[in-house]
């Protein structure tokens, strides 16, 4: 026993000294790795000007500026702890499938390809870009943490409305009223706090408390612990707000693995307004949207990231509800929209793409607007301008160069949308079958039908080929479950039970 204890102590001393030595980091080795792996974005001399930089928002960090956004040292200590830099390089705060780096950025996790020592070596090297030393003040502590409760969340909500809503929006979807730029003049979009999987770090109350207390250096996200600022919040208020943020996560909008949008059968009228209470009965499904980086003109700096859909159908029609978070309501000609837009204000827009003919086999039209052999229908809704109302367009495309605009009204296609606190909701409705059978999709119950989506944020310079999109998923007009599905199991229960009784009687004799 003694011996074991002794060796344990020796081992931990060894480990600790390795750790201390590791924290030193070897600058030379750090540079070698940096020059192979990091300079492409952060630049040869760390100035954030690598070849990839032009195509990224947020841009790769300028490491010569010495600001680290996600640090644990207090607001009046600009130097981060070495552990902070180490943690952000390592990554692993995974929120999005596949992506384990900083969500919403191109900064990946490096813990899978670089050994722990190598990551410390890089820390030592990149600190030298800005001549950072050791921080004079240690990390903030969490000893007064307030556990989440209804009361704490309620109080946090009050504080949020007063202190955070101007940037993060009334309901936290990042739809504030201010145009924000970082210290280097790059456009920043305040985080949509209802989508924790897009957080750079995490939505643990401690992480959020850290961001609120220390601010996000280099951006307009301020520190709320600074007693000299007008925005000071007490320790208690900061914990309450953190608990509130955790509580507003909207998991419905988080894309999962499923790829089938199931339209439910309704008897009677289909909802054609976005706020019809019937929608709450429909199954919803969410998809990631990625920028169009496949065909000319490519688009690299999106502001939208996912879309949620629901659908109903009856004997005559189909009705699809699309819902997506957009920080800005973009109405060309509107003064308020202009203040916050990046460049000219264009219309917001959303589109559904469907094959003209439901494929019999696996072969579908090319996911990017069809191909010469297999055309697609595109239903595109536009939000309208100050002097023009919303509108729906019907397009038939055989590839993006061969697009024909058709009369939407003739097919009974209609659409209408409402913007509210950072979310667009749009309903599109059409008859299941139309007159021009060769040109329009004819919906059929029970058939797996390819479907894809696209959206445009007009305040982010998006129009034409510059937009976000999904590739093919599925739409299924889900048939009503046959009665036998419930009936047969019931019979099985009775038969098995009868068998048991017979068995028991037989045994007793």
């Amino acid at each position: 026993m003694r011996k074991r204890l002794l060796s344990l102590i020796v081992l931990s001393i060894m480990l600790m000294s390795i750790q201390a030595w590791a924290a030193q980091g070897n600058k030379e080795n750090g540079k070698t790795i940096y020059d192979k792996k990091c300079w492409w974005c952060h630049g040869e001399n760390g100035a954030g000007d690598g070849p990839a930089a032009k195509f990224l928002n947020p841009p790769p960090r300028d490491l010569t500026a010495g600001w680290y956004k996600f640090k644990t040292t207090p607001f009046d200590e600009i130097t981060p702890a070495d552990e902070d830099i180490f943690r952000m390089i390592s990554g692993g705060m995974n929120h999005i499938s596949l992506w384990k780096g900083m969500s919403g950025t191109s900064m990946p996790n490096w813990d899978d390809v670089l050994k722990e020592q190598e990551r410390w070596d890089i820390v030592a090297y990149i600190k030298s870009f800005s001549g950072l030393d050791k921080p004079a003040k240690g990390p903030i502590d969490y000893k007064n943490q307030i556990k989440s409760s209804k009361e704490s969340i309620e109080k946090g909500k009050e504080t949020f409305k007063k202190m955070c809503a101007e940037c993060h929006g009334e309901e936290g979807r990042g739809d504030g009223t201010k145009k924000l730029k970082d210290d280097l003049g790059f456009r920043t979009w305040p985080r949509n706090l209802t989508k924790p999987w897009t957080f750079r770090v995490d939505n643990d109350p401690k992480e959020i408390y850290t961001r609120i207390s220390n601010g996000i250096p280099g951006t307009q996200m301020p520190s709320f612990a600074d007693p000299t600022s007008k925005k000071t919040l007490s320790d208690e208020e900061r914990w309450n707000v953190a608990n509130y943020i955790v509580s507003i996560a909207d998991d419905v909008k988080r894309p999962k693995d499923d790829t089938v949008l199931k339209a439910m059968r309704l008897e009677g009228e289909l909802p054609d307004k976005v706020d019809d209470p019937k929608w709450s009965e429909a199954e919803s499904i969410s998809f990631y949207m990625i920028p169009q980086i496949i065909a000319k003109e490519r688009f690299f700096t999106p502001s939208l990231d996912s879309i949620t859909a629901k659908a109903f159908y009856n004997g005559k029609e189909i009705s699809i509800l699309l819902e997506w978070d957009d920080r800005t309501k973009s109405i060309p000609g509107d003064e308020k929209a202009k203040e916050i837009a990046e460049g000219d204000v264009l219309e917001d827009s959303v589109a559904i793409q469907l094959p003209v003919t439901i494929p019999e086999e696996m072969e579908k039209p090319y996911f990017g607007m069809g191909d010469s052999a297999r055309p697609v229908n595109i239903w595109q809704w536009k939000s309208g301008k100050k002097d023009a109302s919303e509108a729906i367009k019907l397009l038939n495309a055989n590839g993006f160069q061969k697009v024909e605009q058709r009369d939407a009204g003739k097919t009974g296609l209609r659409a209408t949308g409402i913007y509210n606190n950072g979310t667009w909701r749009v309903v599109m409705k059409r008859q299941l079958s139309t007159e021009e059978k060769a040109k329009d999709i004819q919906f059929e119950e029970g058939r797996y039908t390819p479907i894809a989506f696209a959206a445009w944020d007009g305040s982010n310079g998006e129009s034409g080929s510059k937009h976000v999109m999904t590739t093919w998923s599925w739409l299924l007009l889900k048939p009503a479950t046959p009665k036998s599905t419930y009936f047969i199991p019931l019979i099985v229960v009775l038969v098995v039970f009868g068998g048991e009784l017979l068995l028991a009687r037989g045994q007793k004799k």
Partner: protein, 253 residues
């Protein structure tokens, strides 16, 4: 000590179920449920045959059940079992009958046979004889070669990393939006298996350049002849091999 036969039977059945379920839970590659049902059927039958091979073991299996039914002191247990068994049977039937509405399974060939000639950049290339014009510099002029690799890297970090990843591991920051996923060049199953001429074909003509068996209509791989030059394609190929440390497959192998 001999494990009671009934218990043994239950243990084996549970373990087999665990094994069939494991790929789905651990590797995210589930065995289709219809197959599992079939495997389980065989597992149950085989175990039963094995356990009941001797009369004594047969008794061990049936004995406890008999006692439960006949022994008046076990009445409560019997009643409970008699209620649970039919309900479980009903439940299983229901899950079997319930329509599932899972997405159709689609198979595509990842590395289809290449065409013999490829049209790109306004020319026709014969893939059988096509070589990377810069490959020979690796030995002849290492300094120039290093420079070309770096230029290839710049092409990569302006055009490809969104999908194929900063680490060439197929996990770019937009990769999660695509199905099929962008391929990982660090995997031994991609460029390490390919000749440079094949890679040249794939980059120049992208997803739409694929033959039917590779489902060109779903591949998000862009048609790069529309964006970069022939020269840049060869350079980015140098970079892909250099960064991952693989050598292109050559004719001799």
């Amino acid at each position: 000590m001999k494990i009671p036969r009934l218990l043994l039977f239950v243990i084996i059945v549970v373990i087999s179920y665990g094994i069939f379920k494991a790929p789905g839970i651990l590797l995210n590659q589930p065995i289709p449920s219809s197959l599992i049902v079939m495997y389980m059927f065989f597992a149950v039958v085989t175990t039963l045959l094995w356990i009941t091979s001797t009369e004594k073991d047969m008794q061990g299996l049936v004995g406890p059940i008999k006692t439960m039914i006949q022994d008046p002191t076990k009445k409560t247990l019997r009643n409970i079992v008699f209620v649970i068994v039919p309900l479980v049977a009903g439940g299983i039937t229901y899950t079997q009958l319930k329509p599932s509405y899972e997405a159709p399974v689609e198979l595509r060939s990842i590395h289809p046979a290449p065409p013999s000639t490829v049209k790109a950049f306004g020319k026709t290339f014969n893939l059988a004889t096509l070589v990377n014009p810069y490959r020979k510099l690796e030995k002849e002029d290492p300094a120039k070669f290093t420079q070309l690799v770096k230029e290839g890297g710049e092409v990569y970090f302006k055009n490809c990393f969104y999908c194929h990843g900063d680490k060439l591991d197929g996990k770019g920051h937009y990769a999660h939006g695509f199905n099929p996923l962008p391929l990982a060049f660090t995997d031994i199953g991609t460029i390490a298996q390919l000749q440079e001429s094949f890679v040249f074909w794939r980059i120049s003509t992208g997803g739409p350049g694929l033959p039917k068996e590779a489902a060109p209509w779903v591949s998000a791989m862009p048609v790069w002849e529309n964006f970069i030059t022939e020269d840049e394609v060869w350079k980015v190929i140098l970079f892909l091999y250099n960064y991952t440390g693989y050598a292109p497959r050559s004719w001799e192998k």
